[in-house]
């Protein structure tokens, strides 16, 4: 392709090809400091192509293509090229990743042990992980946590943090301006602004951690937490995994071991300050 950008995020190498320069320039700026794929060979390829040949110039419209493609995915405008690249990378992981059990969860690490947070869209897992990442924890990822079946270790996937709507202003007051990408208005998910994880998250992204606590946060409720049984956690995590079925028995082993070893809590919270306090309290109580 005319333009391309190579990057490694945690253990996964990507090549993003683009018919336009702009998305690649934005990616290179935002992923400053990230290494390239191991040995220069990407695991997955994303291609940002015109939806039709003339749409390269005329009202440019990006179709997300790659090793794995959703046939009916709606194209995005060139102004949303960065979002298209991120969606393309997520899509390759969701449909093609076979080395790790993929959990749709955010993760942070402290003292070699990982806190996993998962829940429905809007539950706050991404914002909480981003905030914890600025407050003494190591940010491991806000979208996918990679569980290695052989070892039970969690591998980081610290791609750009995808901040949505209210979380944007919250993180703008926490992190330096140069870590933020352009504000993308009126995307299918509302306003989005990408933020580069801090230098520690990038420098240590090759270091896995042992899962020690699983939280299922829920935003907009009075503060409360309740223990969750292993079977409830198992069912919720199969729903949060895009490749549980594809991994077969290795996935079953990995997930059934995780839910038996690691305590889990459902956490309701009214605001992020309360949530951060609850996380610290539950971590101290349960992750020992």
């Amino acid at each position: 392709m005319k333009h391309h950008f190579d990057v490694r995020i945690g253990p996964v190498g990507f090549r993003i090809g683009s018919a336009w320069r702009r998305p690649v320039t934005e990616l290179a700026t935002l992923y400053a400091g990230y290494p390239g794929p191991d040995g220069g060979i990407a695991d997955f390829t994303v291609r940002l192509e015109p939806e039709r040949p003339w749409r390269r110039w005329l009202r440019p419209s990006i179709a997300i293509r790659g090793d794995f493609t959703l046939p009916d995915a709606a194209p995005l405008s060139l102004a949303h090229g960065l979002l298209a690249a991120e969606m393309g990378m997520n899509l390759q992981m969701a449909l093609g990743q076979r080395r790790f059990l993929l959990l749709h969860a955010s993760a942070v690490e402290r003292d070699g042990r990982a806190l996993l947070m998962t829940g429905h869209s809007g539950a706050g897992k991404s914002t909480l992980a981003a905030l914890l990442g600025e407050r003494g924890w190591r940010f491991m990822g806000d979208e996918f946590a990679l569980l290695e079946p052989d070892t039970g270790l969690l591998h980081a996937f610290p791609r750009l943090v995808s901040l949505k709507n209210g979380a944007i202003a919250q993180m703008e007051s926490e992190a330096a301006a140069e870590r933020f990408g352009p504000r993308l208005g009126a995307t299918p998910k509302g306003d989005i602004r990408h933020m580069r994880p801090n230098p520690r998250a990038i420098a240590e992204m090759g270091v896995p951690a042992r899962p020690a606590l699983i939280l299922f946060p829920r935003y907009g409720f009075e503060a409360a937490d309740r223990p969750m049984g292993a079977s409830e956690v198992f069912v919720r995590l199969t729903q949060a995994s895009t490749n549980y079925v594809a991994l077969g028995e290795a996935g079953f082993d990995a997930l059934s071991t995780l839910v038996r070893r690691v305590p889990a809590r459902a956490v309701d919270y009214p605001d992020t300050a309360t949530a951060l306090g609850m996380v610290e309290m539950l971590w101290a109580e349960l992750a020992g």
Binding site: G229, A230, S231, F234, V235, T238, Y244, V245, G248, E249, F252, S256, V259, R260
Partner: protein
């Protein structure tokens, strides 16, 4: 008229992990994970002694569990039909 006789999928085709209130059964042949409650694991265990009809399965279960045989038979029969659909037991 005697009811159907069932046999379980060979134990080697299954992985069974007991969690809290529910058990996990991974069926190697289909790659499907079943999340099951009592008395499903007990029925599969009873069938490991060999194929059996509902009456015989209930007799085996009664040896280790406190149950009313008359009340248990329709419950076990219903679970066997579900297990047959799931592919974990078959008619012998």
């Amino acid at each position: 008229m005697p009811g159907p006789v069932y046999r379980a999928e060979p134990a080697a085709h299954r992985r069974h992990i007991a969690l809290d209130t529910l058990d996990l059964i991974y069926h190697r042949t289909s790659g499907i994970t079943h999340v099951v409650a009592e008395p499903v694991p007990q029925i599969l265990a009873a069938l490991e002694q060999g194929q059996a009809d509902v009456t015989e399965i209930v007799r085996r279960l009664a040896a280790t569990h406190e149950l009313n045989r008359g009340e248990a038979e329709p419950v076990i029969a219903a679970r066997l039909l579900e297990l047959e659909v799931a592919g974990l037991v078959a008619r012998a």
